[in-house]
């Protein structure tokens, strides 16, 4: 009896370790290499709507799990509820975990519009942790106008300064692939109404977006702001840096 029990425990332990190793492997495999599509985007700046094979086995379950969790925002589920915010915040953490798992999976697959749809849906949730994971999921996919709109509306115009660096990094892809005008408009508009903390992060991340075409726009933006504000000083510094590095 004792021998059988031991064998059983060994079996389950090895199954558990095997699964853990598998999940670690997911991290180590080559990620989805979206720059293979680079030439496509240079010639056609629209969205990649190519349907891709969508492995339903893991992600379908994950997606269903996430959707079920999302329903908990409109009712009380089995999450701690000891203080008024605990339920929704714990729920957000759970969704965040699932979205990061989905990101791991997406990194190892061809691009799939479904992932972008999910990312956009969860960028709308007013919880910075959920948004962080949704943005990470979005970063595994090719750029699209819908995704761009979502980054602007649901991250740049949201109030969590911790997300700005991620969003600006993601926007650099759009800049590189020819969406400069929309980015300049979105950044100048966001800068006008952002809180000081967000403004500072926007100003810090602005340098890659300054070039001969945008220099005057961002200079104008700096002129209409409080001269002594830290964010405006950083903005002026980035503009001067561009002038000094200009070849």
């Amino acid at each position: 009896m004792r021998m059988k029990l031991t064998a059983l425990i060994f079996f389950f332990t090895f199954v558990a370790l095997f699964l853990i190793n598998k999940s670690e492997e997911l991290w180590s495999r080559d990620p989805h290499n979206e720059i293979h599509h680079f030439s496509h985007y240079q010639s056609n700046k629209n969205i990649d709507r190519t349907p891709a094979s969508f492995d339903t086995s893991i992600s379908q379950n994950l997606e269903e799990e996430i959707q079920k969790l999302k329903d908990c925002y409109s009712k009380i589920c089995n999450f701690p509820n000891k203080d008024p915010r605990m339920h929704d915040l714990a729920l957000g953490q759970k969704i965040k975990d699932k979205l990061f798992k989905l990101k791991e999976k997406a990194l190892n697959e061809k691009s799939n519009p479904k992932y972008s749809e999910i990312a956009r849906e969860y960028l709308k949730i007013e919880d910075g942790h959920v948004k962080e994971a949704a943005l990470a999921l979005m970063s595994t996919q090719p750029i699209s106008s819908e995704n761009f709109h979502s980054i602007v509306q649901d991250v740049l115009k949201y109030h969590d300064d911790a997300l700005i660096e991620d969003a600006m990094m993601e926007l650099e892809r759009y800049q590189k692939l020819g969406h400069q005008e929309q980015i300049t408009e979105a950044l100048t508009e966001s800068f006008q109404v952002a809180s000081p903390m967000i403004k500072e992060k926007l100003a810090k991340g602005l340098f890659p977006f300054i070039n001969e075409d945008t220099f005057n726009k961002y200079s104008e933006m700096a002129q209409n702001q409080n001269w002594n504000a830290k964010s405006v000083k950083i903005l002026r510094s980035n503009l001067r840096r561009f002038e000094r590095e200009r070849m």
């Binding site: 293979h36 953490q93 001269w227 840096r241």
Partner: protein, 598 residues
């Protein structure tokens, strides 16, 4: 059996290490030193703990001295004084906030939003934040078993970063941070069935509070008297309606003692000084802020100016050291007088004992390194350590407190370095040759390699040629100028000499993106292996440089791939899955599969 158990335990441990959770299970009264009680009255809600666990105490006592509740004073008079000040502070903060978020906001909306802010602060903390108990030590309010921080009760379990960064312990940032969530719901409320109209102010305020208190999805909670948390909505409404704070305020001041805009926009010397009327003629030895921005000292019929208000003490020290006031008068109109714009590096050297940017200093006692001079504690530098000064800032006229910006490991921040009297007991300048650990700047005789194409400049910084990437040249001298502490090297190589722009030290160090210091090779019996270099593989947009060997570890910085202008980095060591690399002076881990060795 025991072995199997061990394996299961190892498996479980493994899972736990890699579980993702942003919830911080901070214990009750976490980092709550010298906890003291209070009472449920305005300004004295229980409990209080030391504020210097999170931000610099002198910064608090300088800027917010009027917003501290002093237990030693006669209670009712002190409460009245405190309430009048905090009333003005909350009002200014709420108004600043909504005017920033909604330019052109109506007077009605501004008034109603401010009213709601007064009520939230009442509901959350009885307007309690800073308090000095009889011990004489300034502390701040920690409610809900220590998890709620300050006037708006920022929770350290869910807003950990806001607490550790010092936002929650700074009364202005505490409110601004919290109002972001309230305003988000305030904007959304009119479209909800429980509010319906923008000007249904009571319902709008209550709905926004329900969402603020219970989360965005609970915006109409206040309409459900049976909700588990209905008592919170009732409590808020009760305070909103009764405005009990008004009972303690004889004079409703419009202006707080500290300039809220100044604090909110990143300065740390924001105590208001009496407003001088705009003069028709300018007074000698007075500071003015020009309409165009710069801060100037008026002397001998002209304005001597520096770009940044933070450098006002440099002007005083240079042009009028006997001045006793650093009040600045803002000028609304352009001036006809001569304006002389100076370089801060030329002017600030007049401050006694202030070391220049680029100098190397040795720490004379353990000193805290903070993100900003009075902000988040990053680490503590140890006596004997040597650092390069990346920037400086000063405050307090007459004594010239100074703070140096330095880099320690992966952290950049400020250390306090004494006054004009005792600076030598805090740090001392060391010669270049005695210490050469992790040099940031090249010195005379050093060889440098260019990492990008660079313009060759003459003494007036006119372009005279081009120096291509990967050139190795010798440094003759260096100069640091301007607001960004820009580094210029005079260089020579095979018969030519010129100046190159090496990069900036502010707002971030870009020198290491443009220049690499070439180590002088001294023959040794066991020569070090040639360092390896790498780049992200083609096809990768960007990756995170991690603080340890897992994708779950915190991100130090983003590393750009080839399409976004990748950096070459040094590979310090290579493991089975991860490599330790150094990029732009920061060390961290990248996955081997993402690296292409050069």
């Amino acid at each position: 059996m025991r072995r199997a158990k061990n394996l299961v335990l190892i498996g479980l441990l493994f899972i736990n290490i890699f579980s993702v959770s942003a919830f911080n299970d901070t214990p009750d009264y976490w980092r709550c030193l010298d906890k003291r009680g209070g009472e449920w009255t305005f300004g004295r809600a229980p409990n209080i703990c030391n504020v210097d666990e999170f931000i610099d105490l002198p910064m608090v006592e300088k800027n917010f001295s009027e917003s501290i509740f002093f237990d030693v004073s006669e209670r009712s008079n002190e409460r009245e004084r405190y309430m009048e000040e905090v009333y003005a502070l909350i009002k200014e903060t709420a108004e600043y906030f909504i005017e920033t978020k909604k330019p052109g906001v109506s007077a009605d909306e501004k008034r109603e939003f401010t009213h709601a802010t007064f009520a939230i602060a009442h509901q959350e903390s009885y307007w309690s934040h800073y308090r000095q108990a009889l011990s004489g030590h300034t502390q701040y309010m920690r409610g809900d078993y220590g998890h709620g921080h300050g006037i708006m009760q920022v929770d350290d379990r869910w807003h950990f970063e806001a607490v550790t960064s010092g936002k929650a312990s700074n009364i202005v940032f505490n409110m601004l941070y919290s109002l972001e969530e309230y305003y988000s719901a305030w904007k959304r409320a009119p479209s909800q069935s429980c509010v319906k109209s923008e000007t249904n102010w009571v319902a709008r305020s209550r709905a926004a509070y329900s969402a603020y208190n219970g989360g965005p999805s609970r915006i109409c909670r206040f309409t459900n008297p049976n909700d588990k948390w209905a008592r919170n909505d009732k409590g808020f409404y009760d305070k909103y309606r009764k405005k009990d704070w008004e009972k303690y305020i004889s004079e409703k001041r419009e202006i707080a003692s500290v300039d809220v805009t100044c604090i909110a926009e990143g300065s740390e010397n924001c105590v208001r000084t009496p407003q001088e009327p705009t003069p028709i003629t300018y007074e000698e030895d007075m500071l003015y802020s020009l309409k165009s921005g710069p801060t100037c000292l008026y002397r001998d019929g002209r304005f001597e100016c520096l770009e940044s208000i933070e450098d006002k003490l440099c002007l005083i020290s240079k042009f009028s050291p006997s001045m006793t006031s650093d009040i600045i008068t803002a000028l609304a109109e352009d001036v006809d007088e001569e304006i002389v714009k100076h370089d801060r590096h030329d002017i600030c050297q007049s401050i006694p004992g202030l070391y220049s940017v680029g100098s190397k200093i040795k720490i004379q006692k353990n000193i805290n390194l903070r993100e900003t001079p009075g902000g988040k504690l990053l680490t503590t530098t140890k006596k004997g350590q040597v650092f390069t000064i990346l920037d400086y800032t000063t405050d307090s006229i007459g004594i010239y407190n100074r703070y140096y910006k330095i880099k320690s490991g992966n952290s950049e921040g400020y250390i306090f370095a004494g006054t004009n009297k005792d600076y030598s007991s805090w740090t001392s300048e060391v010669s270049i040759t005695t210490e050469s650990i992790n040099p940031i700047l090249a010195r005379k005789g050093d060889k440098i390699k260019t990492l990008v194409d660079m313009k060759l400049l003459d003494n007036e910084h006119n372009e005279i040629g081009l120096l291509s990437s990967d050139s190795i040249v010798e440094v003759i001298s260096h100069k640091i100028t301007g607001e960004e502490n820009s580094v210029y090297y005079a260089i020579q190589s095979s018969g030519f000499s010129a100046i190159i722009y090496a990069g900036d030290l502010l707002p971030e160090n870009t020198v290491q993106e443009r220049i690499e210091l070439v180590t002088n090779t001294v023959p040794t019996p066991h020569p070090e292996p040639e360092p390896k270099y790498g780049k992200l593989k083609s096809g990768i947009w960007y990756r995170s440089l991690r603080s340890c060997e897992s994708n779950k570890c915190s991100r130090i910085m983003y590393v750009r791939g080839p399409v976004l202008g990748s950096y070459t980095f040094k590979i310090i060591s290579k493991g089975t899955k991860w490599s330790l690399v150094e990029i732009k002076g920061k060390r961290g881990y990248l996955e081997n599969k993402d690296i292409s060795e050069i």
